[in-house]
Each structure stands twice: as C-alpha cells, then as structure tokens.
Symmetry: C3
Subunit: 444 residues, 3 copies
C-alpha cells in the first residue's frame, strides 16, 4: 500500500466529454474492419495520444477454436449506371460495402445484382452495416430509397479490395499500480463509420487512460483496443497464463448516446466490479438498468466464457441492438453527444473510485466502542436526539470493520453514501482505529 | 448412457385420457378396501393390461410401527324396514357401509341405529365415505335426505362381512432403463366407488406404464398400486434397503377432475422432480399452483417421513379435501372427465421428459466461444440487430455447460423453453461441442 | 434436563404493569447520573426487593478504551435573580442541571450566562436533559418559555456539586437454571427524572427478575442494572472471559410508553433471541416493527461490538429518540402507563417462553408415520375432509423433528402457533415418540 493511505478521490475533468467527442469525430471517416489499414490507422491515432503498444498477429495463427483471418484492405468500390455515374459510392460512405467483400469487377443487370444489395426497408433513408468476415462474399449496402430509385438494366460493379495473408493488429496500454492485480477496460475498434458503436467506446477509453496515467493508483489498469470477437479471443489466447490476476473489468461500448446507463453483470454476478457498478448506478439519482449476464453483446462473451469466467461486466448507455440507429449510417456524429460522453466518463470514474477504495479494514479496538470523544471524533456533549452523519459513519464502520465487511458492504448496510464512509474510514485510519485487513480480497 | 444419445422426445397418445376414463369406469363398481377381494380384483384387472406383480403380505406382519390388519371381505349389507324393503342397500352403492365394518345381524330401533348412521347435512343428497380400519366398528352411510325420510321404529340390520386373518395385497410394475436409478409412481387403489380419489390415479398410472414400456429410457420406472398408508408403509418396509436409488417420484391421485394442476413439493423442496414439475406447470400456459410439502394428503406422507426423506412429490389436479365431492358419492363417473385425464397424462409425461433430459453437460471448448459458423450452427453474415432463438440457445448452453448447470438450469436462466434447449444441446452434442458431465447428478 | 420435561408455561401476573409503574414512581425523584449517590440509592431500592449484588469499581480504572470517570455528586443548584428568587431551581427538577456539571458559584450577567443555558425552542414548555460526562463543563437546562421571561441583568449562579475520585456502581442479579448458558437482561439506570427512558426498563426488569426467581428454568437468567455505556463497558471488561455462554439477551428500555413494540435485532441477525422476539411480535396480533441491528441506541452498542458480537437485541416500545418527550421533562409519570408496562411484561415473558421451549427433538420412529391412533393421539374414524389442529401439529412435529428443526422452526413452517406446537410436542414426548436431540443448540 502506498504511503498516502488507501483512499483516493478522483474528479473527472470537465472537458472529458468534449475531448472524447472530438476524437470520435477525427476517427469517424476511417474505413475500419477487423484487420487491415483502417484499424491500424485508428490505433496509430490513439498512439499519438497515449503510449499504446500495437501488437501484430499473422493471418493463419490458431487462437483457440479460431484462426486469424486474412487481412482485408479496400481502396475503392462503386456501382456505376450506364452513364458512368456512381449510384453507390464507397467514397461517400464506407458502409456501402459489405465489410470484408472480396474483389469484384464486372457488369451485371440490376435483377442479378439485387441479391447482393442490402437495405433497411423499415428505415428507408439509412444505410445498413453488414459484414461477412468468415465466409468469402461480396455485396453493397444502401438506403432503401436509393435502391428503389435505380432503374433496371446493367450496372458496372467494382470492389477494389484485397483479402490476403497479412496480420491482425490490436493495441494495449498498461498503467501500473501498487498492486499486480488489474482492472481491464476492453473496447472494440473494428467498426467503420459508426459513432456510438463504437467510436464512443474507443474515445472514452482513451480519455480514461490519459486521466488515470497521472494518478497514484492501487490497481494496475489495462486498456485494450481490439477488433471485436477475434481480437478479444486473440488477446485471451496470448495472455491466458495470467488473466486470473484480473480483479475486475468492463467492456466499453455505446457510451455516447442520449439514453440512460445500463450495467450488464459479469457471469459471476457478484464480482467486486458488479457490486461497484451496481452501487454507482443506484446512487447516481438518474434512471438506470442492471441486467444479469447473458451470452450476447460484445467481448464480454469471450471474457465470460466458462473456461475463463473473468469478472468482466459491460457498462454502456443504450445497449447493442436496442437503439434504431444501431449498425446503420444513422449512428453518426449527430447521434452521440459530448454531454453523454461526459456523463459516461464520470460514471466509469465513479466505478473506478469504488473499486480502488472498497477495501477491508479491521477495527483495532473491537471490544466495546472506542472513546471517540477524546479523539475529537464525537460530540462530548450528550443527550441529543440524533447523531450527525459523520458520527454515524464512524459507528457503522467501527461495528462492521471486522475483516468480513468491505467499505462498500458498510455503505450498503448503513445506507450512508460510499463517499462519506470512505471519508470516515480515512479519519479513523488516521487515528489508528482502523487497519487494513489481512489478505481477504485479492492482494489487499 | 444409451447409444442414441441422451435426448428423448415423447408425445402423449391422443386417446390416453379416454382410455384412462374407460378403465376407471370398468373398475368403478368394485367395493375396494385396504385388504380383501375388491382390491385384489382391481389389481388383477390392471394385470390383464400390464405385467403387474401382485405381492401378498400376511395379516399380523409388523411393518415399522404398524401391523398388517386382518383381511376384510363383504358380500352384502342392508337395513330393512318393517315391510322388508331395503332402505339402505350395499348393492346399490358400496359407500353405504362404513368401510371395514364387522359383521352384524340384528333388529334395532332407529333411535338406537341412528348413532351408527353417517350423513352429510351440508350435501343432503350425497352419501359420505367413512372408514374404521384400525378400530373394530360397524355402521352405515347414507344421504341426509334418505335419513330424514326414515320413520321411527325397528329396522333389520345386516352386514354380511368378515374380518379375519388373511393378507394385504399390492401391485408393482417395473420398466428397466439404462440407469439403476428410479422414478417412482405411487397410487392408492383402496378406495371403493370413488372416481377422482382415486380411480383416476390408478387409471392414469396404468396408461403411463403402458406407454413408457415401449420407450428407450434413461431411468428405471417403478409403478406401485397400493392400499393407502398401510400399503406404502408395507412397501417401504420391504424395500427399505435400496430406496435411496429413487431419483424422484410422484404420488398420483385426483387427476381426473376439471380443476387446474397442483404440485406439492417433496420435503426436500428442491429435488430434481420438484424443479421439473414446477417448470412444467409454470411453462404450460394454464393456471396452476405450487405448494410446499406438508405432512397431509396421500402416501407422500410416508415417502417423506424423516427417516426416508425421499424426493417424492404429489402431482394432482384439485388436491384431497378441496373439492366438495371429496369422499362422497358425488365423486363419480360424471365428476371426472376424459379431457382432464388427457391433460394430466400430458403433464406427467412433460415432467418425465424434463427428468430424462435434465442432464449436466460440459462445453468441450470452454475458452472463448467456439466458431459455430464453420460448423453450420451460426449465421456467417453479420451485423444484424438480433440473434435467432436457436443461436441464442447455443450460446446459453455453451456458456453455462460447465458441469454445474443442468439443461433445466440453463432453460430457467435463459428464459428459453426447455424443449428448445434440449434440441440445441442435441445439435451441439452431435458436433462434439458438448459432452456428458462426470457423475454430477446421481449416476449421470 | 430437569425431570419435569423440557416444557414450561408461564403466565404474567395481572398486576405486573401496575407494580412496575409504582416502582418507577418511587424512583422518579432521585437525581441519578452515571456515578454518585443517586444511582447507588436507586440500586439499593432495587436490592430491597431482589437480592441484588452491587459492584463498585474505582475511578481511574481502565476498562478497554475507557477509564472509570470521577464520581459526581450534587446537593443543590440554582440561578437566583437580583431579588434572591430562584429562577432556575434544581430542587424543582433535577433536569435543570447539565448532568455532571462541575461546581460553580458566581454572579454573571444573563448575556454571559445564556451560553450555558439549554432549551428546546420546538417544545417551549419542556426542560431538556443534557450531559457532559467526559468533558468538564457546567450549565443549566430550562424551558424556552422560562428563558424568554428572564430579564437581562446579573444573576447568582450556584452548582453545589462535586466531581472527585470515587467509584462507579452497578447491580447484578442471577437466577440459576438447569443450564449454565445464560439469558441476559441489561437496563440502564443512570438517567435522572425520566420515566420511559429508563425507569420503565429498570422497573420492568425488577418485575421479571422477581417473577422468574420462583420458576424452574432451563437457562440461567442474569439481570444487569448499569449506568449507560460506561456501565456496560465495565461489565464486559470484568466478565469478558465467559460471555460466550450468553445464549441470548435483551437490552430493556422505553417499555412504558403507549406506542407499539419494536424489536431491534442483534448484529448476528438470526440468533435464537432474534427469532424468538420476531416470532412473538409477529404473532401477537398487534402492530409492531422489526429492525435490523444498527450501532445506535443503548447498550446493545457494546454487547454487539465486533469483538464480542453477542446475541443481544433490544426490545422496546417506541425506540430512543423517536418520541418527542425523549430526553425532556415531558418523559414523566404521565407519559408511561401501567397497561403499557403490563403489555411489555407479557411480551418479554413470551420471548422467554419461546427461548425456554425452542428445543430440538428427534422423532424416535422416523421411518413412516407412527400409528398415532393406537396411542389415542389420532382419530380412528377415517374419511374426513380435514384434520384437527392438534393432529396437524403431531404430524408436523413428527415429520420435522429430525434434529435440524427446532420447535420454533416447526411452528413457523407449519403456521401453527408455537404454544400449540409446544403442547403437541409435550404429548408426543410423553408417549416416547420424541426425544431430545443431541447437543445441537448450545448445551441442549
């Protein structure tokens, strides 16, 4: 434990949301995929702000039940009508191409091409986002309105892409703390021009990483910027030996929309990170939802697979698939808001603060109450009807600081806010009435 | 485990209810008791349909705290008025005689006879059913209206019965399964002309036994047709050595009335049969009630006595004592319905199916998700908002097939129907992604 | 176990409430404090009724984190106006003096004196009760109306008190039972002329002690009459070695007001005394509240400190601080009622009865039901729709008397009243169908 004592108090910078928004805007135009130049450019942009390590894994490498796929790159793609006009143009939106499309260059009638055109009839002005990572295929996505306007006849089709042995890349950044136990933040950076899912997650993680790198912390913090599914699987395959050092983690996605916060628990359901996130959302005074783990969503699927069962939850605003703009061109820079990103940042920081401070203490004077009055911690003038909140906090902590109850347990049991309990514990620690419990929780 | 794999899918015959009704109608006229010719004739009728073994135990044999009583037989009984007319006539309804009445032949005034006449003032047209098995006694039961119509004066009373050393009989039928662990069905067959309680139970068990005898089953199935209380006690006394092989059981009674299903849990409260029955009733879309164990009712009292504590519940329609017709002449062939018997049959079969299939599996690829797409089990085309139900089932099973969660656990956790979970598990088992867990549940 | 069998049935004397009221009235005028002549006179009054042992502990003795304070005594105190009239007079109410005031004799202007005058603006006619035990100080308490009526100018101030090395006293009375395990009743006797808090507690304990001293009891009963906080701490310091013999305890206070009963659980939350008190209040047919332990209130704070964690709850009517009269002159002989004291007495006795009788038994005939009929405990005439309550009790007890379920468990599980369960258990014990379980609960 550091000399400063076990207590930490972090305040989010007021421009955290705007900074995250600006970064999302900068990254927005890039055509990302699970491999290729787009995700690499994205990681390099992040690396210009924090000292990210970028790892490369060659195509064909086995990772558990999977294999690193070929690398996909794309330069241009379009469908031209007879007049040579681009009626579908990758240069206007990279969502127009079925992600991971193999190269194609041919002329075909609309009647035949139509099988390879994807639209959203329910949202006729939006372009859908579609992928075919693990089966070679090609196609285009466009708005239903655009499709309806296309006359029959021949069209020139071009996808100037390549799908060849190459590499998968991902980024990692570690902030060492006093403990070798880690808090993991994992965010997927494979989606092309989609903002909430998941430039918001990448930008928020970048901001958190930058902020925490200046703090004196108990835990070690690890930030992962990975392609979805295959990236998390790859990382787990390479780090399998030590991942039981992860004290808690959060998958970060969809943190920029105007909806309220959702926390999806880890598979364990009662890990410290689950209790911390639940506490923060419950005591924040705003609408929220807590959900049990389910094997859908983002990379929590991999971290919570039964062979790992890591204490990794997912803290989002509106979860995947539950906002209409999900996986469409409407998930754009208008959909995410700096103030939503700011609030998300604060919620993540609150969770971090609970994790950092939720320690186990032991009352050094456990037989009867200690005499707080002579230590200046209790009114010496008696007979009053009620007890001030801070004195209440002292009594709750002294009674339950038995090594079995953490500060969060005491906050929940007493109904007093965690920040008050933390301050009271700090005061009791200072006068020697509390000491750290033995190794009751990880390396604490 | 059999070669066919662990999955079984049974469909109730459409005429199961009608067949049970017909059998109840055939057995209805017989005057049964806990011993004697009536119960023996009943067992022989059942034996003509399934290869029942009929056991005999001599009067006077001690069984735990009890002793096999003398055998009771009756040929005729009546009360005649001065004109020689039978005003109470056993030939019209065997309920007219207090069951186990000792022989009597005398003339007595109504004023004196009245002490031995039992009626139901609240249901003046119904004959009550009364017994005196363990204290020598005699009497008649009749409708309150009939009693009110009797003029004062002398009556000739005759009960042509015998109560002599003889034997107690009960029937047993066993269908061997792959496992030596057993599912027990126990039904009482001692009641005279009463349909819901319990010709319905006997007839339903006969139908289930017949149906299951043609199936390839994991568990061994044992059907008991016993006189109430003393029969179950006798059977337990004779089979005490091995009854811990019983994986689950159900006492079968009152399964023909038009009321909704009730499940009364075993004393353990969370035995596999409790969870299976609760699941089936909850997911059947019809009204139902689940009740904790209580030491009243039928032979679950004996199976759940603390020295045995067997996992035996009771699945009924309206439970004992809660329908007005209970233990009266109104519990007749009009009170039970073929369609109610059919529905009961289906519910019992559903419980059997859950028990047969509720096994523990282990994901053979527990670290990260396996790549379902290349096995043809998952869409290779990505980006959609939602996941089809079968793919959801795959993910739930793979995540929770850790040896600790049975298929029923996974169905309950996921909210997906057990039959879908079972089908999905079968598909995963086929491609080798699931294997049976070690001996985590009985002999599974 | 005593020869009389394990069952006890106690009835509260009808004048218990009036007797307690009379004792409170007798003790009311005395000026008590945590030390000094007042508390000693109080203990001596109690000793005239029960053979109390009075313990003395010298000032300066260390007790855990505390030190026995100097002894405080007071003879007179007043504030006189220029005319020599006592405008504040200790002889009229001992609440007028800040308890533990150091001696003072001086003349001072009201403007200066005002800082040492305590009133209750919200209740302008009541005198507050204030203390300064652990910091030397002096002051007066008076009604807000009286203060408002005082003209400016000089006043003669006199507190004829002494604060000198002396002793702390407390009383203890023990009623030996068959077992060395104890039930503890602890009540604070340090408050001056305040009735509900806590002459009611002292008087009730005296009455209980007197009543129980004539009974044949399983547990040993210990009554403590102590100054609040420091008295309980002192007692714990002197008795630390054996207090794990305490099977359960109750802090007794505020038992005379007209409000409904409150039970505050011990820190353990599920100790036998918690379950007994909760059961009694729930089944009493009157309003009540059950509360979890909190580290506020009376001496349960010390008994439940984590180094002791004794199973001591608090049974009160309206708890400390929740009635307006709390710690004011309005907590007088009009505020407490004989009938409230009577009801409190009965509730305490009910809890004692549950504790005495809540034992573990074992069915001596655990395999199948025993034949109750031949023992005269069950109707031999069968077929009825329902079972009489006593026969239900027999069946519940026989089914759950497995050594794991106490009689209270069985009462709660069955919904039958504890007194019926106790009677039924007594009958079963008499015919040999029940025997005491092994050492499953303390020394039972």
């Amino acid at each position: 434990m550091s000399e400063q004592g076990p207590f930490i108090d972090l305040t989010a910078p007021q421009d955290a949301g705007q900074a995250a928004y600006n970064l999302a805007a900068e990254l927005y135009p890039i055509c990302r995929s699970i491999t290729g130049a787009g995700i690499l450019a994205t990681l390099q942009t992040l690396k210009s702000r924090i000292p990210l390590t970028i790892y490369e894994v060659p195509s064909g490498t086995p990772v558990f039940d999977w294999t690193i796929p070929k690398e996909w790159n794309i330069r241009d793609a379009y469908v031209k009508d007879k007049s040579g006009k681009r009626v579908i143009d990758f240069q206007k939106s990279n969502l127009h191409v079925l992600n991971y499309s193999t190269p194609v260059r041919m002329v075909m009638p609309l009647s035949q091409l139509r099988e390879r055109l994807y639209t959203l009839p329910d949202y006729p002005d939006w372009i859908p986002y579609r992928t075919s990572y693990y089966k070679e295929n090609w196609g285009f996505c466009l708005s239903h309105t655009e499709l309806a306007a296309l006359p029959e006849g021949d069209y020139e089709v071009c996808i100037d892409s390549s799908l060849e042995p190459g590499k998968l890349v991902y980024g990692e950044y570690v902030i060492p703390g006093a403990s070798s136990h880690e808090i993991l933040f994992s965010t997927h950076v494979c989606h092309p021009s989609l903002c909430n899912d998941n430039l918001s997650g990448a930008a928020l993680c970048l901001g958190l990483a930058k902020f925490l790198s200046g703090q004196k912390l108990h835990y070690t913090y690890r930030f992962l910027f990975v392609p979805g599914t295959i990236g998390a699987i790859t990382w787990l395959a390479k780090n399998e030996a030590w991942v039981d050092k992860i004290h808690g983690g959060l998958v970060v996605a969809c943190v920029g929309d105007p909806g309220h916060m959702h926390y999806k628990k880890s598979r364990r359901g009662n890990a410290p990170v689950d209790r911390a996130a639940e506490y923060v959302l419950k005591n924040n005074g705003k609408p929220y939802e807590i959900e049990e783990f389910s094997p859908f969503g983002y990379d929590e699927r991999q971290y919570n697979s039964p062979g790992f069962n890591l204490p990794v939850g997912s803290l989002t605003r509106t979860p995947h698939g539950r906002f209409p703009q999900y996986h469409t061109s409407a998930d754009n820079l208008d959909f995410i808001r700096p103030e939503a990103l700011q609030n998300s940042f604060e919620m993540f920081l609150e969770v971090i603060q609970v994790l950092e401070n939720d320690q186990h203490f032991v009352n050094t004077n456990p037989k009867c109450e200690p005499q707080l009055g002579r230590r200046g911690l209790y009114s010496l003038f008696g007979g009053h009807r009620s007890t001030p909140a801070m004195e209440q906090a002292f009594l709750w902590i002294l009674n339950f600081a038995d090594g079995d109850h953490s500060l969060l347990d005491i906050a929940e049991r007493s109904g007093l806010h965690f920040s008050l309990i933390r301050s009271a514990a700090s005061a009791l620690h200072k006068v020697g009435l509390l000491k750290k419990a033995g190794a009751t929780s990880d390396d604490f």
